[in-house]
């Protein structure tokens, strides 16, 4: 008997706070943590069955053209090689998030440099790689190819549904006491998950089992089945552990389909792992962005107008476009508003979701612009933001479900010592280092995704949670254990969590920060279902039932579960769907960043000295994993501000820095001094847990605080990220 909830109205009951176990929110360790650090958590490629063959993918080395032939024979003659596959079902692009159907297929049309067009399968990985490196492709190269988004020959689309206008921004700009009209650019980014994309495919008759590394298994199952032209009932995907995704594993990718085709053809299991270089070239990039931002404000810094137009790119037939302006409609007030988006069609690696698509780059630019407005108006950047927090969504005219931006700004400023900041750039020097502080707001839209889960309370008083949900390193195992433990009155070691198997109830998957809240709600409902069943057995009403430490307490009776259940299991099922609360209120998470940097006065090298993030995301389900998510987000923010850039060669569009030696992510030495404060909040509009998404919040706007700190340190305004030393150097004073 499943408990179903459509989020049509606010939850006022806030059950979790009324529970007795008191483990929700606590910073417990991940239950699977020990397995991971000991190397005993088995990831996709660790599941290699005896007798499996290995496949290595082969890339095309033109940006646009035709693959007319593949010289199979020469490679088939090599020792150990079992097959060369160049099948039109191979994926051209990986699937976009929540596509639920096959992405573009077919390898004979090459649409970007590095497109994976064939698979060589051999007895050993080394033999397969050797064969793959030997495989000769006959490729034509189309000279009429656009690889640069700023190429005037690029087709530019400006979709109407991405455009909105309120009032008269042009007029507001003219009338403004202070205005900013600047263009900001961010480079393409890679997800750079630690575990590369890898799959093992195994057939048993018509049934395919895939050990994969994916974020959203129910969608991935449909995508894989569709790509192979088989019934999705015949596909099972297993992904109990995923070594990071950051958007890159939302949809199935090339290796899964290739492994499945090869395994079918050869009648043996086939493992295919992409190399780091193939992940860089073949998997989603975040589009580069160019953003024109206009701000109009009165004498008092109160905004009268905001304009945000973005130019992004993607392959000709892809629908995804980086949603750069996502938070702009609701973050700050202003009666005159303009939003727009333009997509250049280029032959570069497919663009898709990478680490907080939209706000990560869009809010960063907006928050640099706000710093510029603070500078010209002479208003402290913190004060400027406080003056512009709207009391309702200024675009939709609906109330916020909850908006703690003001508190986040004030708490952060206090804790960080913002008042110590000198308002005059370039005035604080420590030896060779120019020191400055910067800040920015954080915001990210909140989402709920349909999700189901099953919870079984076994006769011996252990709860088993089952869902095809994934844990992509975020802490799903921990937070689901805590929700069930709290609801059923069980210590954490009496909760078992089984995830990452499409045979289990359909969960939300992990992505868009919605996983914990969506799937957590399904688990919550399943536990409610069990509580109701317990009430029936005990003949009490739910309000008078207390569950704690494996006992049910009602009135003056206190019974262990084992006694109530008498060896039978209670099965609860939960099912949540988004409803009217999505439209009735603006649901978002908010926060603030404060950063202090040193900029070397000789070299222009920027080194972060300390950074604080204050975040408000509804109920915190686990203080430790939530904090880790925020630290990770801020780390990506540091990367975006100072380091990360996928370099495309302008001549053929190929990615030049396609490994982790030259695609610079922050290393430990770049991220010391990070601190996170989580605000206490409940949001009943979001779901009955009162929790909102937190995974991506920590990156949205983070880079701006650092870039703004560089300006405070040096007076140099960087509008083209990352702020590498060459961009700062030009503006530094001569050596004394």
């Amino acid at each position: 008997m499943a408990l179903h909830l459509k989020m049509d109205e606010r939850d006022d009951c806030d059950r979790l706070d009324a529970m007795a176990q008191k483990i929700i929110g606590t910073p417990i360790d991940r239950p699977e943590g020990a397995l991971k650090v000991a190397g005993r958590a088995r990831y996709a490629l660790d599941m290699l069955p005896a007798g499996a063959c290995h496949g290595v993918l082969v890339r095309a080395t033109v940006a646009k053209g035709k693959l007319s032939s593949v010289d199979k024979d020469a490679v088939m003659a090599l020792p150990g090689v079992r097959a060369v596959i160049a099948d039109e079902r191979l994926l051209r692009n990986p699937a976009q998030g929540m596509a639920g159907e096959a992405p573009v297929q077919g390898v004979s049309d090459v649409a970007y440099f590095g497109q994976l067009v064939a698979l060589v399968v051999a007895d050993s990985f080394e033999q397969a790689r050797h064969g793959a490196q030997r495989l000769k492709l006959t490729l034509s190269s189309d000279p009429d190819v656009v690889v640069r988004p700023d190429d005037p020959a690029a087709d530019l689309e400006s979709p109407d549904d991405q455009k909105s206008e309120m009032g008269d921004l042009g007029r507001a700009m003219v009338d403004a006491a202070f205005s900013i009209d600047e263009t900001y650019t961010t480079p393409p980014h890679a997800s750079a998950a630690m575990e590369p994309h890898a799959s093992i495919a195994e057939w048993s008759g018509e049934k395919l089992t895939l050990h994969g590394s994916y974020q959203m298994l129910p969608f991935n199952r449909s995508e894989l089945a569709d790509a192979l032209g088989i019934d999705e009932g015949n596909v099972r995907i297993l992904a109990p552990y995923v070594g990071g995704g950051f958007g890159s594993k939302l949809g199935i990718s090339q290796e899964a389909v290739a492994a499945a085709i090869a395994a079918k053809e050869l009648g043996v299991p086939v493992a295919v792992a992409m190399s780091r270089q193939q992940v860089f070239e073949g998997i989603m990039r975040r589009s580069e962005t160019r953003q024109r931002i206009r701000l109009a404000a009165g004498e008092d810094g109160v905004l009268t107008g905001i304009g945000h137009e973005a130019w992004v790119s993607n392959l000709p037939d892809e629908t995804f476009a980086e949603p750069v302006t996502q938070a702009t409609p609701f973050l700050y007030q202003g009666a005159h508003r303009l939003i727009g988006q333009h997509i250049a069609r280029v032959h570069r690696t497919c663009a898709g979701s990478v680490r907080a698509p939209g706000e990560a780059v869009g809010l960063t630019a907006l928050e640099i612009a706000m710093d510029e407005l603070a500078e010209i108006s002479g208003i402290d950047p913190l004060e400027l933001r406080l003056r512009n927090i709207p009391d309702k969504d200024p675009t939709e005219g609906i109330p916020f479900s909850s908006n703690k931006l003001s508190e986040a700004l004030k708490v952060g400023a206090e804790k960080f010592g913002w008042s110590e900041r000198s308002g005059t750039p370039g005035t604080r020097r420590e030896g060779e280092w120019l020191v400055g502080m910067g800040m920015a707001s954080a915001a990210r839209v909140n989402m709920l995704i349909e999700s189901k889960a099953r919870v079984t309370l076994t006769g011996d008083g252990v709860a088993r949670i089952e869902s095809d949900m994934t844990d992509i390193g975020t802490g799903t195992y921990a937070v689901l254990s805590q929700i069930a433990g709290e609801m059923l009155g069980l210590p954490i070691d009496h909760v078992d969590v089984h995830l990452g198997d499409t045979d289990l109830p359909r969960g939300s998957g992990s992505g868009g920060s919605f996983g914990a809240a969506s799937n957590g709600t399904a688990v919550f409902l399943a536990c409610e279902d069990i509580r109701n069943q317990l009430c029936e057995k005990l003949g009490c009403d739910p309000e008078s039932l207390t569950l704690k430490d494996g006992h049910a307490i009602s009135g003056n009776q206190r019974l262990p579960f084992s006694e109530i259940l008498q060896g039978t299991d209670l099965v609860g099922e939960g099912h949540v769907e988004p409803g009217k609360t999505e439209e009735a209120v603006r649901q978002a998470t908010f926060g603030s960043y404060f950063a202090e940097v040193g900029v070397n006065a000789v070299t222009g090298e920027t080194r972060l000295r300390r950074m604080l993030g204050v975040f408000s995301a509804g109920r915190i389900l686990n203080e430790k994993t939530a904090r880790s998510q925020c630290l990770g987000g801020m780390t990506f923010g540091i990367g975006m501000a100072l380091l990360e850039e996928l370099i495309h060669d302008d001549r053929d569009g190929h990615i030049v820095n396609r490994d982790l030696a030259e695609y610079h992510l922050p290393v430990n030495a770049d991220v010391s001094g990070l601190e996170v404060v989580l605000l206490d909040e409940r949001d009943g509009w979001a779901n009955p847990l009162h929790a909102k998404g937190i995974g991506e919040l920590g990156i949205c706007g983070a880079a701006a605080s650092i870039v703004n700190a560089i300006h405070n340190a040096t007076g140099v305004r960087v509008r083209d990220l990352p702020a590498t030393l060459d961009k700062v150097l030009e503006g530094l004073p001569p050596l004394s």
């Binding site: 490196q133 000789v602 030049v656 030696a661 610079h664 030495a669 060459d726």
Partner: protein
């Protein structure tokens, strides 16, 4: 990776004997194995030299040090004599790679590590260094890592080592053994070759020749500094680096040795700059003049033009640090 033979040599003579017909020595393997996996290098045979008696750091009769070719980068950086008498070398080593890599990387291997040019690493790209005569795709492409001195129209790659830059400032020489068992020593200034029309030939080593040691003369100055400028705080190759060794006498710079990384196909030195400085009292104007002279012959690309002002500033600041007080 192309299939290859593997043989472990028990002596230098055996090693040099085996190292023919496309064979290559393997020491720490931290550079070679990556390149082999990508098929940028495809030796027919690996001759493992790790069991040879080429470890150890010894005092020389001349007051210098003899560093065995197999001394690991970590051990060299931690040696008390290196730390006290050749701090520029210790600092350069510690500024390179990561702890794990330095534990594995050897002195000989570090000297011979290949360029980090992006195009060299991608076998789909023309590259004269990897495939002589195919062209240089870096020119006109992404050149943040590339050289501004000593380049040619055939190659603009840098030598990426930090250690070798310090050794160049220290006037090290390299001891080499040939297959007949003869040992000779070559000054580091003569060891690397400019790319010219043959960028694939990087040193004066002939096939099969083995580096057995690096010899350091007594340090030519007590004031030493290594400064590395890079995109992140650790674990990145130098955009530019400066190794400086200065001896002061009566308020003047008696001897000056300066070597530069990240800017040339070999650790770069400029005798005119040193001559300009020697015998003079330090001053900001003099340093500026020296910096101007250093970059006078720089040849830049769009992506690396920033190295010119950067190098000038870093040189001035380093000289300042070396001569003050």
């Amino acid at each position: 990776m192309i299939p290859f033979d593997y043989q472990r040599a028990a002596s230098a003579a055996e090693a040099t004997g085996l190292a023919r017909d496309g064979a290559t020595f393997i020491a720490g393997g931290t550079n070679l194995l990556d390149l082999m996996k990508l098929e940028v290098m495809a030796p027919s045979r690996l001759v493992d030299i790790n069991r040879l008696d080429l470890g150890g750091i010894e005092d020389t009769t001349g007051g210098g040090l003899r560093i065995g070719a197999l001394v690991r980068n970590s051990d060299l950086a931690g040696d008390p004599r290196v730390r006290s008498s050749y701090p520029v070398l210790a600092r350069a080593l510690l500024a390179g790679a990561s702890g794990q890599l330095r534990n594995k990387a050897t002195t000989g291997g570090n000297l011979l590590q290949r360029t980090r040019c992006y195009y060299f690493y991608d076998t789909a790209m023309p590259c004269n260094k990897r495939e002589p005569g195919s062209g240089c795709q870096a020119i006109g492409g992404a050149t943040r890592l590339h050289a501004i001195f000593g380049t040619s129209d055939h190659c603009i790659a840098t030598h990426p080592s930090d250690m070798a830059v310090a050794m160049r400032a220290l006037d090290a020489s390299i001891e080499i053994e040939d297959s007949a068992g003869n040992r000779r020593s070559v000054a580091i200034s003569e060891f690397y070759r400019l790319p010219g029309t043959t960028p694939h030939i990087e040193t004066v080593l002939k096939p099969g020749e083995l580096i057995t040691a690096v010899l350091l003369p007594p340090p030519g100055g007590t004031r030493q500094a290594y400064r590395k400028v890079r995109d992140r705080a650790s674990y990145a190759f130098a955009l530019v680096s400066v190794a400086g060794v200065v001896e002061m006498a009566d308020g003047r710079m008696k001897r000056v040795a300066l070597a530069f990384g990240g800017v040339g196909p070999q650790p770069w030195r400029n005798a005119e700059v040193e001559a300009l400085l020697e015998g003079k009292a330090p001053s900001a104007e003099l340093f500026e003049q020296a910096a101007g002279l250093l970059v006078a012959k720089a040849r830049t690309q769009a992506g690396n033009a920033f190295k010119v002002p950067l190098l000038q500033r870093v040189l001035s600041a380093t000289l300042n640090e070396l001569t003050k007080g």
